[in-house]
Amino acid sequence: MPRIDWRLALKGFAGFLVGLAIWAFLSPVYDRLIAASAEKVMRAFEKPSVTELRPKEDNYVTVDRADFDRRSKQRPAIPIRDLTFNIALLTALFAASKRTFSDRNMGGFVLAIVCLALSHVFGTVAEVMSIYVAKLGMWSTVHYTDLERNVWGVLNHFYRVVLMYAIAFALWWIFRDPGTAAPAAAAKKKKRR
């Protein structure tokens, strides 16, 4: 196997720690932003527009609907931060670059973060829909078909198990600085010289 460039590996690990810290400290604010955006998207596509996503104190977001009986207190809740920690993967990949702070790499990182945020909105919508179609008992059975249950259930599981990582990897692949490819590639070039 090609020689590992430990300097780049270390940069990647530092990027991972920075990403993790950003995710951990900004989650309360970021979760609200994602919940508000997901609510807008859902309301735009549903008739009547009734979905309400309300952030709670404990990093969860309550899923409610204006047409649900207000006397009933029980509402499902989703942990949005479980859908967004791929930020740490993205920062690690962009940091593992020969010219981490080059304009091209940083510009690519910003674009990738914007796209990643859009994917977080999609992940949240899939999470809420998977609750609507299957986890609200008789209400789910009456309002959604088996096909809808399967589609949203699979989409939500797919996002959580692999898609959220694949999206981060693909965004890095698309937006990275072409001159500072991968740790392995850089090591190979170095060896040739």
Binding site: M1, P2, L20, R160, V162, A166, P178, A181, P183, K189
Partner: protein, 167 residues
Amino acid sequence: MQRTQVLFLVKFFAILIAAYLLIAWNPVNDHVIVPFTEGVAQVSGALLNAIGQKVTTSGTVISSPKFGVNINNGCNGVEAMLILLASIVAFPASMKARAVGLVLGALAVQFLNAIRIVTLYLLGAYQPRLFDMFHTAVWQVLIILSAIAFFLLWSARVAPNRLATRA
């Protein structure tokens, strides 16, 4: 981005979706993924016993009076193996190189995954406050990063020019 790079991404996602649908199919999940996860639990349980933790393993559950973990999909390393599979198969290389990459990569991912399960058990037993953070984010990202790093090393070996100069 060049056409080959776009093609790589298209193939990557197509293979990823196909592989995911295959393992999510109930017969495959019940007869392949669950027994595989039980094997992961057995190995991790043996490692924990080797370092003096008196644990018992039953199915996918590792437990002791101190703590217990149930290894589910998403914690068995299969998700990282899917990323590895999709990236290696999507990358232009010989069948032999792909097979070698897949076998070595899967072994590397599973080695790291065993360490993940052992450390998560130890955190749960002795530092429970840190368990959630490490379970949800830290180890998940590290496992996927290891799969991506392995792919980059492998691709640089099988076709350095394709990745290094056109990336």
